[in-house]
């Protein structure tokens, strides 16, 4: 019975993942503008969450392996946030050129 329940759980997660794939592809055709990346990455994060929790069995894991997984995510967030702040705070190319001292 437990074997059947586990198989059923894996199958249901698989269906949910395929449903999310259909949703993200469908959403990419909608005129969402600047919200579009948030939607596609949001759905990707939910899919990854399903894979981590059920397929990688984090739901039954001890705190230490969970910490190893969370640590990877935290380091990635730090890397991506710092990269983002760099590019987001750079002046546009034209004004950067203007602010340079002119050769005599």
């Amino acid at each position: 019975m437990t074997g059947l329940a586990a198989t059923l759980r894996i199958a249901l997660v698989w269906l949910a993942l395929l449903g999310l794939l259909a949703m993200t592809v469908g959403a990419s055709f909608l005129p969402l503008g600047t919200v579009s990346p948030a939607v596609s990455y949001g759905i990707a994060a939910i899919k990854a969450g399903f894979i981590f929790w059920f397929y990688m069995e984090m739901r039954t894991e001890h705190p230490l392996p969970r910490l190893a997984t969370v640590a990877a995510i935290v380091w990635m967030v730090i890397l991506l946030t710092l990269t983002w702040t760099d590019y987001a705070t750079r002046p546009p190319p034209s004004s950067a050129t203007r602010s340079l001292p002119q050769p005599e």
């Binding site: 993200t24 592809v25 990419s28 579009s36 759905i43 990707a44 990854a48 397929y55 990877a72 990635m76």
Partner: protein
């Protein structure tokens, strides 16, 4: 090496041994994730510097190939998870068969991917090799990122297929009751899947 369920020095019991091997695998996978994080950071920078070319490059990709490949990998991951479940119940032979199916789906993923590369070669959107249709520098950068990221991912798919193939042989030879070898092979495969889950919107869905 063929008997993953055997207790080895310096472990006191099988559960402890399994825990250690699994933790080691997760730390290794965390370092793999960091490797790809660099590529995701590059994609973000590229999208911020060349937003128009990035969207144009993404629209030029074959969305349905990417979508089919996502479905193939998600299915393959589900099959690998089933293999772990079977190994834990002592059904080594069935676990092996499921790992072979998961690896087979990995081969299907590569066939679709390489078919897509062939079409892109004919379209002239391959930097250096066939760049006839690449005009803007941002578009060339996007396609370079695309081939580098999907190429590196494809190498990981090949590694995953080999690992699952090797472990499939072990799983029949011994009953891997703690599902350590089968579990670690599946963990690697799930990470390859998770990376693709994020590569898909990064490359194909920036429309």
């Amino acid at each position: 090496m063929s008997d993953a369920g055997t207790l080895r020095e310096p472990f006191a019991d099988l559960a402890r041994q399994r825990e250690t091997q699994r933790f080691g695998m997760l730390v290794f996978l965390a370092s793999e994730a960091m490797l790809f994080a660099g590529l995701f950071g590059t994609a973000m920078a590229l999208r911020m510097v060349h937003p128009g070319d990035y969207v144009a490059g993404s629209r030029g990709l074959h969305l349905w190939f990417g979508t089919a490949n996502t479905a193939v990998l998600l299915t393959s991951s589900a099959v690998a998870a089933l293999a772990v479940e079977q190994a834990r119940r002592g059904k080594g032979r069935r676990a092996s068969a499921l790992l072979v199916v998961a690896a087979g789906l990995g081969v299907l993923f590569l066939l679709i991917k390489f078919g897509e590369y062939a079409i892109e070669y004919r379209e002239g959107v391959v930097p250096l090799l066939a760049p006839s249709a690449l005009h803007a520098s941002g578009q060339t950068l996007f396609m370079t990122l695309y081939f580098f990221a999907t190429g590196l991912h494809a190498l990981h798919v090949i590694a995953g297929i080999v690992i699952m193939g090797v472990v499939a042989r072990w799983a029949t030879a011994s009953s891997d009751r703690t599902a350590t070898a089968v579990g670690n092979a599946a963990l690697y495969w799930h990470l390859v899947d998770v990376i693709w889950v994020f590569l898909f919107p990064t490359l194909y869905l920036a429309r």
